[in-house]
């Protein structure tokens, strides 16, 4: 028996035992938290898995297999053009890794053997925030606006942070490793346009299958009694009574808004094009799908398709359990939007409600130190926003959260040293706060 590793298990077992021993199984709050958590998992399973997550896994799998990572790294080598290096670094996260365990070696590599500190930090910052799965899931669950804000924010801020890091440390001597970058061999099998069409078809299927209808009414409401944040939802009214109204939003979720929280409702003009696309969306999807099958059978070899399936399956295996646990925890702590679970909504409101600088700063710092397993930031934020978190602080957390966590700060520190890490972390926190304040003020 190895005492060094076994004591951890012992501590874990004791902790679980104490938690079970004192479990408040009769308390109403505890029970509602449990049922909220299960209800949230059910809602996610019904709304997000089939049309959104599964196509997203296929896209991520295809990116991992058919886009050569080495061809991207070419632009981040030691002799790379600086402007190009920064631009590539800030967007390449979208086609690279999904988890931070692959981002960190790439970061260290760009720093030590490649284009240097600036592009390396730009990459480190944008990587986790703009990978394709994160963007798709954010847009689907937290709204298109949030998804776009996250992607654009991450790209812009990675450029700024990269450049600032470069400027602050431009006089330092470079600590380069003598080692040469080892690249996996690249082989170009298909012309670019074929690959582009193939990806376009998949993205098209994802977009049209999830095409929302156009709403005819917009309701502005307060998140919760005494809350600081207001939200708006667009859709059509299903039921209206003295207690409040039920709105079917454009993506098919029902919202109950009680009268005392409702600020106003206004008519909006239906967008005919939206409506028409919505009506024919399955036909469009079927055409795209047929085209996609044709491409697969004509342009791809059997072994490529097998690789693609394997990497898709790999993503599904890696991410689904994390997401499942993430949703369970988010539901247990925060409940579904508009309902309470373990954490009272007024706490959330006090900490991150509204759009004050303090709320944004708090969200950034909390996000920076907290560890989010891949993609779990999305359900957690969903819960927080339902409990009264403002949109600004939500974006601040999204921008600071996945890029940083205590464990990865330690790894970054071992690569670039304590001082640079501290500067990097503070830059991220400050930037995330500023972007949160700006975003919250406008939307």
């Amino acid at each position: 028996m190895n005492a060094k590793t076994e004591w951890k298990k012992l501590v874990l077992i004791i902790a679980v035992f104490i938690a079970c021993f004192y479990m408040p199984a009769e308390s109403a709050r505890f029970n509602s938290a449990v049922s909220e958590s299960l209800a949230l998992v059910r809602d996610y399973a019904r709304q997000h898995v089939l049309l959104c997550l599964i196509p997203a896994f296929f896209i991520a799998g295809a990116i991992a297999v058919f886009i050569s990572q080495a061809s991207v790294m070419k632009y981040l080598g030691p002799n790379a053009n600086k402007v190009l290096a920064y631009s590539v670094a800030s967007v390449s996260g979208s086609i690279l890794a999904v988890c931070s365990c692959t981002v960190l070696p790439l970061f260290a590599g760009i720093y030590r053997m490649g284009a240097g500190l600036g592009p390396a930090t730009a990459f480190l910052y944008s990587g986790p925030a703009i990978n394709v799965l994160a963007i798709i899931l954010t847009a689907r669950i937290l709204g298109l606006q949030m998804g776009i804000a996250r992607a654009v924010g991450a790209i812009v801020f990675s450029l700024i942070i990269g450049l600032l890091m470069h400027l602050i440390y431009r006089h330092r001597q470079k600590e380069k490793t003598e080692a040469q970058m080892t690249m996996p061999e690249t082989q170009l099998v298909r012309p670019l346009w074929k690959n582009t069409l193939y990806f376009a078809a998949m993205v098209g299927i994802l977009i049209f299958a999830n095409w929302a209808r156009s709403g005819d009414v917009r309701a502005v409401f307060l998140c919760c009694p005494g809350g600081l944040s207001t939200y708006n939802v667009e859709g059509s009214i299903v039921q209206k009574s003295d207690d409040g109204l039920i709105i079917l939003d454009t993506s098919g979720n029902e919202h109950r808004i009680s009268t005392d929280l409702l600020i106003k409702t206004q008519q909006v003009k239906k967008n005919n094009l939206y409506e028409r696309i919505h009506r024919f969306r399955w036909i469009i999807v079927m055409f795209l799908f047929a085209g996609f099958i044709l491409m697969l059978s004509n342009w791809f070899t059997r072994s490529e398709i097998a690789d693609w399936a394997e990497s898709t399956w790999g993503f599904a295996k890696q991410i689904l359990p994390l997401l499942f646990v993430g949703v369970l925890i988010a539901g247990f702590l925060l409940g579904r939007p508009g309902r309470e679970a373990l954490i009272p909504a007024r706490w959330v409101n006090a900490a991150v409600g509204g759009n004050s600088v303090r709320a944004n700063l708090f969200a950034s710092i909390a996000g920076a130190f907290m560890y989010f397993a891949t993609l779990t930031e999305v359900p957690i934020l969903h819960g927080l926003m339902g409990a009264g978190m403002g949109k600004g602080p939500a974006l601040a957390l999204l921008l600071a959260g996945p890029a940083l966590s205590l464990p990865n700060m330690l790894v970054i520190r071992s690569v670039i040293g304590t001082q640079k890490t501290a500067v990097y972390v503070s830059l991220v926190v400050v930037m995330a706060t500023i972007s949160g304040v700006i975003f919250g003020a406008f939307f």
Binding site: Q69, A70, M73, C99, C101, T102, L104, P105, L106, A108, G109, I110, R112, M113, T177, A179, Q180, M181, T182, M183, P184, Q318, V411, S414, V415
Partner: protein
């Protein structure tokens, strides 16, 4: 005696690569020593940025993918 090193920060893929390497070496029946290199700075010394990677006697053979046991066998022999 061959020295097989698995470079990777401990993600599931690195563990899979380590398994494959073990299978390959055992099937060949050679004498070997398997080492997992998890320290990012040591990984950089190999010039590897795409983990997981596999090095035999200090020389990087594959980077950025999980090589199959068959592939590793041919690298070992």
């Amino acid at each position: 005696m061959k020295k097989i090193q698995i470079l990777g920060t401990g993600c599931p893929k690195c563990k899979k690569l380590a398994q494959h390497a073990e299978t390959a070496a055992n099937e060949l029946g050679i004498e070997y020593e398997l080492e997992k290199v998890t320290d990012i700075n040591k990984i950089m010394k190999f010039g590897v940025m795409f983990t997981p990677a596999l090095a035999i006697n200090g020389e990087v053979k594959v980077a950025g993918k999980v090589a199959s046991p068959e592939d590793i066998k041919s690298m070992l022999s």
